[in-house]
């Protein structure tokens, strides 16, 4: 006997993601799912963002890391609400892991919640966690052909930050080629060039965050 099913394989995850999203909306949180390969600069971007947003918007972080708590230790000096999820052997964060982190965060004290996914260019793109936007970081040492090799992640992202542009003279990475490849996969993808160690381009990234926040929730809650 044949039974028609026609059900999304990840529907259980998507249902929890939608529930997370409702909670975020209720608390006025703009939520970004930050994805990249290991070492592309996610934690350094969080540090620069924490500095640049100070006095503008209140930042909170959920950091996913396979084994260690090093990322959350690096963020401690910024006195942010941070929840560390050690994912064990999991290669991505899913909606249920995020749901399990939420009771440990005072969401009403957060304007922008950055979710630092596990470093991986494949799996994180599959799993919604309840975010408003997926943002990915590609560092120039990874190569400008990456959009063609990992198309789903570039396709799912709203913004691509090209990081470590101070290293451009030492690599054969072409900004033009990277952007061309990224737009082949996702014509609507916005791109920005940043250097998280020198702070170059961080202003534009933070403006992007503030604009998105204002578009969603109106005025900034505190000046």
């Amino acid at each position: 006997m044949k039974i028609n099913v026609m059900t999304d394989v990840l529907e259980a995850n998507d249902r929890i993601a939608a529930a997370n999203r409702e909670i975020f909306d209720k608390h006025g949180n703009l939520v970004l799912n930050l994805m990249s390969s290991p070492g592309a600069g996610k934690t350094t971007l969080l540090e620069r963002t924490a500095e640049a947003l100070r006095g503008k918007l209140r930042l909170g972080v959920i950091a996913g890391d396979i084994e260690t708590t090093r990322d959350s230790e690096r963020l401690q000096k910024y006195q942010l609400p941070v929840v560390q999820l050690t994912t064990g052997t999991a290669c991505h964060l899913d909606a249920n892991m995020i749901a399990s982190a939420l009771p440990h965060l005072d969401l009403s004290g957060i304007d922008i919640l950055l979710i630092e996914n596990v470093g991986n260019l494949v799996c994180p793109a599959e799993f919604k966690v309840g975010e408003d936007y997926k943002v990915m970081i590609l560092s120039v040492t990874e190569g400008d052909e990456k959009p063609l090799k990992y198309p789903l992640m570039f396709r799912e992202s709203s913004l691509l930050l090209i990081n470590k542009i101070d290293l451009l003279p030492y690599t054969n990475f072409s900004l033009e080629e990277a952007k061309r490849n990224a737009r082949k996969v996702n014509p609507d993808l916005e791109t920005m060039e940043v250097c998280c160690t020198t702070g170059e381009g961080i202003g534009a990234w933070v403006s992007w965050l503030v604009e998105r926040y204002q578009a969603r929730f109106g005025k900034l809650r505190r000046a």
């Binding site: 059900t7 999304d8 494949v122 959009p147 789903l152 082949k184």
Partner: protein, 113 residues
């Protein structure tokens, strides 16, 4: 290794659907996966085999149909298969393309005893 989570999703949904119909055993599961999903058949089959043990899906044949990336031109309405990630309408050369296929990941149907 997203195949593990995908395999678990397939088993949960297939077993629930089979039990609703009072079936004793699942013999085949037909899954449709868009090309952009990057599902690796061999890995998925392996994960499925391990996770399905001691469920009514144990021993079921997992059929994976990979569907191409499809675009629809917002200018002229033509629907076409996107090759090499070239989101350009073959009819009118427009780049205003809506993706209408290639990211799906669902169970189409199952066969049961």
């Amino acid at each position: 290794m997203h195949e593990m989570a995908i395999a678990q999703g397939i088993i949960d949904i297939a077993v629930a659907a089979a039990q609703r119909e009072g079936a004793q055993r699942i013999t085949r599961i037909n899954v449709v996966a868009g090309e952009l999903r990057g599902v690796v058949h061999l890995q998925l089959t392996f994960c499925f085999g391990v996770l399905a043990e001691e469920t009514i899906a144990s021993g079921a044949y997992l059929n994976l149909e990979i569907t191409p990336i499809k675009g629809r031109c917002r200018e002229c309405g033509q629907t076409f298969i996107v090759e090499d990630y070239q989101y350009v309408c073959p009819g009118c050369q427009s780049r205003d393309i809506q993706m209408v296929g290639g990211t799906e990941l669902r169970i189409r149907d199952i066969e049961v005893d």
